[in-house]
Symmetry: C2
Subunit: 327 residues, 2 copies
């Protein structure tokens, strides 16, 4: 059933008509959209709409496209800022073309996200645009905090959670809320779904942090321990840093001081030492518990909606798949 929604989205993306020219402005947009992906955000729009809309008329498709185009705009610009060479196994836009192309095509992609919304009738548009604007600005704020925290000495657990809320979770929340309102939900139900999305989004990001250190490398699809080697401020490190005292703190600081080019053995040693610190502090269990709290919180919001309770299956399946994914 989710597959049907997914193919609806893939079809709608394929049918997006961008001008041929200027090629350097529109080819990168076609390129990044063809890289594929799980299309989680547009799926959330459609699933939320269909909780309330009995006719399942596909009228949430344009908003689903807006959300997906926005997401791809953030990927294109974030990849410049992070100097990322690859995305989904292919060169990033700024590598495949150049940085100016990636800046301008990204800008245009953001505008085209907004372009999707103009098909909605005035009253609906007036509900959707403020949600989309607020989300878009918050995602920028989240990216800025993320960049700030990269060069900060350390960050509090609260600030870290707030950063991932802004950078990742508000887009899931906005996708659900927009879909709900298109489907005819009350503002109350739409807000419950927004909160569901926020909490799922935070749990999802916490899990991402856990998997990078404790995942199965074969399933996770990337090298385990990458975050540890890069001293990345994940929830694990943030938590460990604030818990550690005395000798344990010294050991953690010593591990963080190991940087530069490491060979395979040195890398493995660093990861093992940091994991030993995490084990001493019970960080894995603590963070798993934190994730569980956000998941529970999310589903408690879902229970509050007054309409659509009988159609939650798809949404529950999608959320569960996000929260148990191993890649």
């Amino acid at each position: 059933m989710l597959e049907e929604y997914k193919s609806q989205i893939d079809k709608a993306i394929a049918q997006l008509h961008f001008p041929e020219q200027p090629a350097d402005l529109y080819d990168p947009i076609r390129y990044i959209l063809k890289l594929g992906g799980k299309r989680i955000r547009p799926l959330l729009v459609l699933l939320a709409a269909d909780l309330f809309d009995k006719d399942q008329t596909g009228k949430a498709i344009p908003a689903a496209l807006a959300v997906e185009l926005f997401h791809n705009f953030t990927l294109m610009h974030d990849d410049i800022m992070d100097e990322a060479p690859m995305r989904r196994g292919k060169p990033t836009v700024h590598k495949n073309w150049n940085q100016n192309v990636a800046i301008l095509a990204g800008d245009n992609l953001l505008v085209w996200a907004y372009k999707q919304l103009i098909v909605y009738e005035p009253e609906k548009l007036s509900l959707l645009l403020p949600i989309f604007n607020q989300m878009a600005s918050e995602v920028c704020e989240g990216q800025q905090w993320d960049m700030n925290y990269e060069v900060a000495n350390m960050v509090s657990r609260e600030d870290y959670i707030e950063m991932i809320r802004l950078k990742t979770a508000v887009l899931l929340g906005a996708a659900l809320k927009m879909g709900a309102l298109i489907g005819g939900a009350t503002v109350y139900d739409a807000d419950c779904l927004y909160q569901f999305g926020i909490n799922i989004g935070i749990a999802f990001q916490l899990q991402d942090d856990i998997l990078d250190t404790y995942g199965d490398s074969a399933q996770f699809g990337k090298q385990i321990g990458g975050d540890v080697l890069a001293n990345k401020k994940t929830i694990l490190l943030v938590d460990a840093y604030h818990l550690a005292e005395g000798e344990v703190k010294n050991e953690l600081e010593a591990c963080l001081a190991i940087s530069g080019e490491l060979d395979e053995m040195q890398s493995q040693q660093k990861v093992q030492r940091v994991k030993a610190v995490y084990a001493q502090l019970g960080v894995f269990d603590r963070v798993s518990e934190l994730k569980k709290q956000y998941v529970d919180h999310a589903f408690s919001w879902l229970k509050k909606i007054k309409s659509g309770q009988d159609k939650l299956e798809n949404l529950t399946i999608l959320a569960q798949s996000l929260l148990t994914r191993s890649n």
Copy 2:
């Protein structure tokens, strides 16, 4: 009278409330808005609205802000792409902070432009958003063509005009059209004002090209001949290149081949030789005539509006000041 409008805009910009944090996201926005400028685009919004709105209630102010924020977003990102170190006598955002800050603050500024529009009632918003979206995407296209033409061997006159239409003129047209619709104009009158803006915008850019080579350096405020020295494809060079034949063409090609670090004397010589070619071909007169055609065309559109003919004075004064400016 124009001064009153200008101070309304300056006041509204000063009252824009951006969050304090994250500082690296919002300080660059405050910074670029404080650099000032003539605020031509928001002035066009207000003047167009007041042609039709008898009450002059200031309800066009949010759209004026949207247009000005959008303009500043383009400046912030264009300055990265052009590697411009200075803007209005101050360091550009990417120089004063860094490039990532300029990318992200620019993105956020674009979102904040859209944020200004949500105050409009649904029916109005539904008129305004498509105009704003279309304009924004076209401005991106214009910037891409401009970058393409920088590295192209040559460009046709038609392609050059189309580039400046997209990069510069559509924003003036959209400002006027949005203002008109907010003021209650018919779609016909709003479209006439759009065409007025397009033609004024093209004339304005042609004049900018003329002034760079034929302006009074004291009045123009920058070195005369900068475009010539950089082999910049202005309307003058484009026209000369297509007109020149035989010896004159050889001389023009020879001038274009003079590049690299030039001392003061070599620079002056290059400018003089290129101007001699322009003189032989009558380029100044041809381009001045072309500019005049766009101005005449612009005012013919203004004559067509069916309402507001008695209140055109401010708009005419503003347009004339743009078209006779020497800086």
